[in-house]
Subunit: 315 residues, 2 copies
């Protein structure tokens, strides 16, 4: 693949992947389609196409603006925790436009798509130690259900029209450039620690997730593009579970601060434990992963230096 | 369950099930919500509520018109063969209104839903002899994908709000009261034979499906309601495969006619073989099934007598 179109490429994951690709795969041409308000920190190293994913004409304009070899689909307008409050919106804002995108890819002969699914939400309530890509999928959030429905349509378009897909079921990524206040517990906590604010934990802190340092994720995605891995569903995580309480311990040690915490009721859409089986990932790409203690330290330092710079700028 | 609301109850499957229920379970009260144009052949034995499934207010009016114990959801506005031509419509006309229905069931405290999924289309391309309910699902039609997405939302509403579900993955039903010209190959063929028209076969006639006589289906559904089977996904078919060519042979023998046939290209959404594993069904209900030769003969006689009556009426 030479010429890639990133949909929603200026967000947290997109920014990290594009950084990685620009650094290591200089032959790639990258176009980003994202909301008009988004800041393009890559400047002229990419082509920026502002537009609205829900507007079919806007997507078609971007898709037909060059001869793309592939699309990287990172758009998601909901998060698991709150998606159940607006299911019809979730379907209409994510599923329907993705189907339209696939139809446009057929029309404009774009042969490949990489889709960011959700390792944390497609499997649902899990009793086993880890989940692999063949396990049953019963999401308990609309976010996960829509991701899963998109996966099914990707497979359908592959069988019917030959569009190749790579579905990445990503665990909980954390690291530089995560700016959301609603999602990404590690980044949200660090931001609060830097402002000396109280950390709010849904549940008792025992909930276990599979966290992945976003630069590891970016490197893996780069390798997968480079190795032309297609028509596959792949879990991307660390393969190990970490509880919220363990994260709090790491953050205490990294920041050297006492943390102020508040524990509240968990949401029904929160699963209690999800750890990804990454055997397939290990077969497909060779990649050393940053341990979570180290990843959190790097993230903390990055965010601290950003905060200090901002502070200096203000003065 | 005492008081049931049938959505789309005046179609082929609904008519047969309601017939069965009115005959054998006389304590049941049945309300049918269906399109205003539909003929209510049950008269005052049921309550008929004309309305549009895509209109939320219309659905809410029906759902709140009595204290229902359960909903039987039979609405489907697409068929596998042509659903891929209008995927966005399929999602908006079937998935979104079903999610709205579930939200209304939560609001009006209707505790139970029976959903007619599709054994023929949710599994997709299958290499194994038969498919069971735990097998992988990769539909190759939007019809099947939407059915599957609805299944996932049913599970979600069960986990989050306690709405019980029964998902019936029905094979290819045939028998009395099937009037579609687009779907139900056995009925379509018989209608054409009775009019001395040519039978059009997509493909070479080797495609294998799992056919079930609709009166068997109706009896099974009655037993499942009676036995209060919930929170389950169940294949309903015969467990045996029949090719189109075998159906043609049976029809030749039953009608005593030479058949005029025309073979055309198959559609991409047609799977070549699908036979349901009905082990779970057999554990849940005891039911003798009508063999396909006998079922086709009964259907032929029913349709022949209907055609003769219509003819007599005309004179």
């Amino acid at each position: 693949m030479k010429n890639l179109l990133f949909l929603g490429g200026l967000g947290f994951i997109g920014t990290n992947i594009i950084n990685e690709l620009l650094d290591k795969y200089s032959e790639l041409e990258i176009t980003v389609f994202d909301k008009p308000g988004k800041v393009n920190s890559f400047g002229s190293r990419i082509r920026f196409f502002p537009g609205d994913f829900q507007n079919e004409i806007s997507v078609e304009n971007a898709l037909s603006s060059a001869s793309f070899d592939g699309v990287v689909h990172l758009v998601s307008t909901t998060i698991p925790a709150t998606s159940n409050e607006k299911i019809a919106f979730d379907i209409e804002a994510n599923l329907v436009p993705t189907v339209r995108l696939l139809q446009l890819m057929v029309k404009h002969e774009v042969p490949d798509i990489i889709f960011f699914s959700s390792g944390g939400s497609v499997y649902g309530t899990v009793n086993s130690k880890t989940v692999n890509e063949l396990d049953q999928t019963f999401p308990i959030s609309s976010h996960g259900t829509v991701k899963l429905a998109i996966e099914k349509y990707l497979h359908l378009f592959q069988e019917l029209y030959g569009i190749s897909y790579l579905i990445l079921r990503v665990g909980n990524p954390y690291g530089p450039f995560q700016t959301s206040d609603d999602q990404g517990i590690i980044n949200v906590f660090i931001r609060k620690i830097l402002k000396n604010e109280k950390l709010v934990i849904r549940g008792d802190g025992s909930a276990i997730r599979d966290y992945i340092y976003v630069k590891d994720l970016a490197r893996i995605v780069g390798q997968m593009i480079d190795n032309k891995i297609t028509n596959n569903i792949v879990n991307i995580g660390s393969g190990t579970g970490t509880s919220v309480n363990e994260i709090l311990d790491i953050l205490r040690s990294v920041s050297g601060k006492e943390l102020r915490t508040k524990f509240t009721d968990p949401l029904p859409a929160d699963v209690s434990r999800i750890v990804l089986d990454i055997s397939k990932l290990k077969l497909l790409v060779k990649s050393e992963l940053v341990p979570i203690g180290e990843g959190i330290r790097l993230t903390y330092e990055h965010m601290l230096s950003e905060a200090l710079n901002k502070d200096n700028f203000k003065r």
